[in-house]
Chain length 242, copies 2
Amino acid sequence: MSDILIKGDNSQSYRAADELFLEFERMIVSGELCDGEALPPEREIVETFGVSRTVVREAILALSNKGLVEAKPRFRPVVRKPNFDTAIDTVGNVVSRLLEEGDGVKNLFDTRIMVEVYLARQAAVDAKRDDMQSLKDALEENEAAINNMDLFFQTDVKFHRVLYAMSGNPLLPSIHRAYITWLKPNWVKMPTLPARNQLNFESHTAIYNAILMRDPDKAEAATRKHLADAWDQINNILSAAK
Amino acid sequence: MSDILIKGDNSQSYRAADELFLEFERMIVSGELCDGEALPPEREIVETFGVSRTVVREAILALSNKGLVEAKPRFRPVVRKPNFDTAIDTVGNVVSRLLEEGDGVKNLFDTRIMVEVYLARQAAVDAKRDDMQSLKDALEENEAAINNMDLFFQTDVKFHRVLYAMSGNPLLPSIHRAYITWLKPNWVKMPTLPARNQLNFESHTAIYNAILMRDPDKAEAATRKHLADAWDQINNILSAAK
DNA sequence: AACTAATTTTAGTCATACCAAACTGGATAT
DNA sequence: ATATCCAGTTTGGTATGACTAAAATTAGTT
């Protein structure tokens, strides 16, 4: 099952570039190389580690591909201490392509329903006062932006982001960001109408009210309806494209 | 927010290796290069594309880092058409290290609770007869393995896998695999006792029965209890290690 | 047909060289 | 003193050739 990982983990690296990569990875994760710091020049690394520039370049390239350094062409690679967002970005392109096949977008959207239904239920059970205030603020910003296309999208995203943040789990905001990143390409294709904004705002309100009333079932129902609407909108775009 | 992605997307690649990488990526995703097929020798690619071996090697390395080819040292890289499992493997090492920090494992485990609670509730609502049979089979295999440490772990994993598969969403099995991969290192450290296996089996039974009775709330409760137990076991290991 | 030895091919590595872009420090202008 | 500009230096991207050890292939043998 986990052949690939096992291989990657326990096999000694026979390539010098791999070992150098691991060394730098260790230094970055341990903080020996700080975030934002630039890597030494390639020729200096050559001297330090006694390997050829070929090896150094391949190691740096690997760091770049894994998102551990940010390497613009002709600039010194800058150390980026990895977090879950960068991890997601690392696979971003591949995932985007995978989503284009078959029901990829639909399947991803279904997992979003899964997450948000859970979050809504959970919020209805144990949302704190501060969180409810944040959610209310986001809701009001959303309402105020109904006639502003761009701003409405932003406040829409923010409302959901607050829901994710309310979980108190720092992984959830990263997951939310991933959903936005991967689903946005389908989203931006559709024309935004004030009428639709109004509908979405009302859906948000329904979710908020259900949570406020401490009614998990109602919160779930409101979330499902909202996301079902959203999917219809995306799906129209997708099927129109065919 | 999505600076990194935008940069990666719209900036023309000024590095020849990047362009070659994109060309191969396209060929792999489009199926022009089939899964399992070996890449041509480096020197042949040099001729075909009129670039130096340096560039070819860097492009291939990038493919390898992204999981689009499997490159054992000294062997020709083998094309691997990407799927969600390989995407997860690509970030596997980095994520593993991230999890080691702070409450990383706990946070990941909490998302697992989120997913499985949802799945259990959903199964209670709309599980099909075939799915229930699969779940029952897995449960019986699990019971039969109570006195066999390794086998119990396998059947334990399988029971949960059936739950993930019942969603009908092909992304969920990949997510399940990710959980196993990332949480297993903590799991294998603990001694397996028949008594604990018995407890876990009974938890599985409770989940199964709740789903069978079409009771989402009870299914959720049983799942939460089971995973809370599991977390206690993991947590004992984690805190003992400190 | 199966096994083994000799040969060829190839990935990994090193060294060197060149170019163009980025960087540096000092001179000049404001 | 600060900003601007220019020349020299450094550095990343690329190309080329060479060498080694391992893999793939072929030839030869049983």
